[in-house]
């Protein structure tokens, strides 16, 4: 009984060992052993309580975690991802509760119940098969479980071997044939036959092409897969040299290789493994992982050879795919424009070429560094780099992919900004981090330039004394700058979102402003307008606006207005306008006053000319009548005094006339028109009727000037008259001349009179200044004063050139 059990274990172990070496994915086998016992199986849920089972052996072939293998490929780890996973062999005593079942496998934690429940025990029982091979996915197994399952496997194998050997040796039965020789052994009892039947089943259910041969290579048995593969029946295959089997028919080299292998294994008993090719019944070539091992009998002779072939064509193909994938990822890794690091714990283990360029060092230099060596002490946000990095790395190791910006040192100590991503990968079962570092200095610089520009605009808007306002397409206020808020007396919170028109624009201006908005949208160009805005306390400000629409795509986004408060300017303009009007009024008033004053002066002059002169004349005439009517009574002295009275009256009469003449200049409206001075001067000379001894001449022809006739007459009359009057020579000569003096005419009146001492040259132009006693020479002293006054009216100047005894020359200019 015990031996049978051990035998089963051994058989299972052989199968599993094969699976261990070449096994598929997620396979397991179930076998039950032992005669029916009294325990019902209803707790296994198959609903057939008549079936009793004593024990159950479970083998798991647990593959490597496929996802983990995949990640390894991604970073190009050179590992054989197709390596089969370890197998777990667990026996269960069905009479014991679940924990007891597990205890037999070793000191370990329980297999999760779901795993246990998924095993198709019921199906095994129903089919009454003794071996079941199936697949399941054991998702629940975490890494830790995986390791202790391995441990369990190891323990189970050891136990199985021990149990197998110990009874064999202890029994001392030398007749026992090698256990692998199915069909070659005669089993004398029912149990043995049953066992043989079971192992036949296992043999044929194997996924491997399996054959058994004697040490000479004569094929003793093949399993069903091998026969099916070749397309030849088992009977035809047996008892022939193995290398002449149909699997090798395509390749003599393979044949000789296997032949040599058989010879070698048969000789020294060491198993061999190699890869070769088989052709199947359809002639297709398969890649085969081939193994050959020897089975010794109890006395250690090599009794049998077992050949096993595993079709690894698909494996090869996937290997190729994996290889391609590795190439692909390798090229990405090598050619990436971002620096890519592989980190384990907090150490660099690999980096790509771009890393060297970015950090400015060799791969070796970089890999010697700690990640913190490539960071400044503090990050731009002020946090210590080590602390922040540790956070990020820890989070990434915990399975949260990280993406953040980081300031890095280059090897030469210069700084640059980078965008970094951290992702966890499992390589060789250990967590690693892949760090991708992208240089974003350029982007940062552009960002900063943009930020600076934004800041500049913001500053401009905030610091400007002008008003800035943004009004959304819906009419709501989006933004107002501090200058405008201050002027209106609102806070930003109070205005944002308010309807601009109804909140800030007085009724009277709304229609016009609405039209401006419409025009802005239609024209799409900035416009200029003025309107009032209301302050919080109800005052009105007049603002000159430069408005512009801002479009988002084709749609109006908002209106932007820049305004200047022109309330004061307008007030000032208004004041200036008023002042001007006032001033004009004042000028008008003053002019009227002046006109009145002039009129008064005229009136005064009239009064003077008449009312002052009339009494004088009366006195004069009365005195004259007295001297005439009382001539007989008056003596000479009396008559003489009456004459003196008349003389003084005449002088006073002349003075009054002089004053009137002088005051008339500039008081009486001038009448400037072209005057032919040649003609005028001749008339003057004629009017003066010079005495016979004085000769007055005009040199050349005098020009035509634009002037007031009366004034010109007065000038020449006085100058020529004076010259004639004062001549003291028997042959007097007065010359009137004119010369061109650029833009003016220069006139001169020259005489050969007594001349004037230069010390009097200025004095003679003063009013009522004469150089001779009044009674000697008739004259009021007004003449030259008049001349100078008139000439100055024409922007000219009267000059005198004279010496005593050498005559005098008066010159003056008039405009052409």
């Amino acid at each position: 009984m015990f031996r049978r059990q051990c035998f089963i274990y051994l058989q299972l172990l052989l199968g599993w060992a094969t699976l261990v070496c070449f096994g598929g994915i997620g396979q397991f086998a179930l076998a039950h052993a032992g005669p029916p016992r009294s325990r019902p199986l209803d707790d296994l849920g198959d609903g057939r309580p008549s079936q009793l089972l004593q024990s159950l052996t479970v083998v798991w072939i647990i593959p490597e975690n496929p996802s983990r293998a995949g990640r390894q490929e991604q970073v190009g780890r050179e590992e054989d991802s197709a390596r089969p996973g370890p197998a777990a062999i667990v026996s269960a005593d069905l009479r014991a509760p679940l924990p007891a079942w597990l205890e037999r496998a070793g000191d370990c934690e329980p297999v999760p119940k779901p795993v246990w429940e998924r095993l198709p025990v019921g199906r095994l029982l129903r089919s009454r098969d003794e071996l079941y091979v199936g697949q399941t996915e054991l998702h629940g197994l975490d890494d830790r479980l995986f390791w202790w399952v391995l441990l369990v496997v190891a323990l189970a194998i050891v136990l199985a071997i021990c149990w197998n050997r110990t009874p064999c040796r202890d029994s001392g039965a030398g007749t026992v044939a090698p256990h692998g020789g199915l069909g070659a052994e005669r089993l004398d009892d029912e149990t043995t036959r049953e066992t043989a039947r079971r192992f036949r089943a296992i043999f044929d259910q194997s996924l491997h092409l399996t054959g058994v041969m004697d040490p000479q290579g004569t094929l003793l048995d093949v399993n069903s897969p091998a026969a099916e593969f070749s397309g030849v029946s088992r009977e035809e295959l047996l008892h022939k040299p193995f290398w002449e089997g149909p699997w090798w028919r395509h390749d003599s080299a393979a044949r000789s290789q296997v032949r040599e292998a058989i010879a070698r294994v048969a000789h020294d008993g060491e198993p061999v493994r190699f890869q070769t090719t088989h052709v199947d019944r359809d002639g297709r070539l398969h890649n085969i992982q081939f193994s050959l091992r020897a089975v010794r009998d109890d006395i250690g002779r090599i009794a049998l050879l077992i050949a096993e072939g595993l079709d690894i064509t698909d494996l090869k193909r996937s290997e190729q795919a994996a290889q391609d994938g590795r190439e692909w990822y390798r090229s990405l890794f090598e050619g990436a424009n971002d620096a890519i690091f592989l980190m384990e714990e907090d150490r660099f283990v690999d980096c790509n070429p771009r890393t060297q360029a970015l950090f400015g060092g060799t791969r070796e230099q970089i890999l010697q560094l700690h990640p913190y060596d490539l960071s400044p002490e503090f990050q731009p946000d002020g946090r210590p780099s080590t602390q922040k990095a540790l956070e990020k790395i820890s989070a990434a190791y915990a399975g949260e992919p990280q993406s953040f910006e980081w300031r890095h040192y280059r090897i030469d100590g210069s700084l640059f900004d980078a965008a970094v991503t951290l992702n966890r990968v499992f390589l060789a079962g250990r967590p690693h981090l892949v760090a991708v570092v992208r240089d974003i200095t350029g982007r940062k610089r552009a960002d900063e330039a943009l930020r600076n520009e934004m800041a500049f605009s913001q500053t401009l808007i905030h610091a400007s004394p002008a008003f800035f306002v943004a009004i959304g397409a819906d009419g709501r206020t989006r933004m107002m700058n501090p200058a405008m808020l201050n002027a209106l007396g609102y806070t930003a919170e109070e205005v944002v979102g308010k309807d601009y028109m109804t909140t800030f624009v007085p009724d009277a201006d709304r229609g016009a402003l609405a039209r401006i908005f419409e025009q802005l949208v239609v024209a799409g160009r900035p416009t200029l307008n003025e309107n009032h805005i209301m302050t919080k306390d109800g005052r009105l400000l007049l603002v000159e606006w430069h408005g512009a629409p801002v479009f988002k795509g084709q749609e109006l986004d908002y209106f932007f207005g820049v305004g200047i408060d022109i309330t004061r300017r307008r007030q000032a303009e208004e004041e200036i306008r008023k002042l001007n009007a006032e001033l004009e009024q004042r000028v008008r008033d003053r002019t009227a006053q002046l006109a009145a004053a002039n009129a008064a002066l005229n009136e005064f002059a009239y009064v003077v000319s008449h009312d002052l002169k009339a009494p004088l004349r009366a006195v004069s005439q009365l005195a004259q009548w007295v001297s005439e009517d009382y001539a007989s009574v008056l003596d000479e002295e009396g008559k003489n005094r009456l004459k003196l009275i008349n003389g003084r009256i005449a002088r006073m009469y002349n003075l009054i006339d002089g004053i009137l003449q002088y005051s008339r200049i500039g008081r009486v409206e001038e009448d400037r028109r072209p005057i032919d001075l040649d003609l005028l001067v001749r008339e003057v000379i004629e009017a003066l009727s010079p005495p016979a001894h004085v000769h007055v001449t005009v040199e050349g022809r005098l020009p035509v000037v634009v002037a007031d006739r009366t004034q010109m007459t007065q000038v020449f009359q006085n100058l020529i008259g004076n010259a004639i009057k004062f001549i003291n020579k028997p042959a007097g000569l007065v010359t009137v001349a004119c010369e061109d003096a650029g833009d003016r005419w220069r006139f001169s009146v020259t005489d050969n009179g007594p001349g004037i001492d230069p010390k009097y040259h200025e004095k003679i132009f003063g009013i009522f200044q004469t150089l001779t006693p009044r009674d000697q020479q008739e004259g009021t002293g007004i003449g030259l004063t008049l001349v100078r006054r008139i000439v100055e009216l024409y922007s000219g100047k009267v000059e005198l050139e004279s010496e005593v005894g050498k005559g005098s020359t008066f010159t003056f200019t008039l405009p052409k």
């Binding site: 005229n602 009239y606 000319s609 009339a614 004349r617 005439q621 009256i649 006339d657």
Partner: protein
């Protein structure tokens, strides 16, 4: 001087009245001299049917109540009176007065000289003019 036609002197200054009287006497003009002290009085005399109409009017400009220019404006609008020759006899040398007077159709504009002898010459000239000039 035209016989039996009185001369009307419109003059407020008594000395000037005497001067004219004396000058006429000196040059032996015997026509009756009517004297009015201002324009109003002169108009009254001119329009008084009982008063003989003068052949010539010697007119001072500066007078109280109605001055010479005002008098002229009335007389020159009066169809009965406008043809009587008026000679202005004044002390004003103002251009304005001359222009205005001639605008009002005076027959002459004489300035009263200070000197009596010259005054007599002026009166003589007027007499001559009045004597020689054809009148309507």
């Amino acid at each position: 001087m035209r016989p039996n036609t009185p001369i009307l002197l419109v003059e407020d200054d008594e000395v000037d009245q005497i001067t004219v009287q004396r000058a006429l006497r000196d040059i032996h003009v015997t026509n009756r001299l009517l004297i009015a002290a201002n324009g109003e009085e002169a108009l009254r005399m001119l329009r008084d049917p009982a008063c003989e109409r003068p052949g010539i009017i010697l007119l001072d400009l500066n007078m109280p109540r109605m001055n010479g220019a005002e008098f002229l404006r009335v007389v020159k609008c009066d169809a009965e009176l406008k043809r009587i020759p008026v000679v202005v006899l004044t002390s004003s040398r103002e251009e304005q007065d001359r222009i205005e007077s001639f605008n009002l159709s005076v027959a002459g504009y004489m300035i009263k000289p200070v000197d009596y002898r010259q005054f007599v010459e002026v009166v003589r000239t007027i007499d001559l003019y009045w004597t020689l000039s054809e009148l309507p």
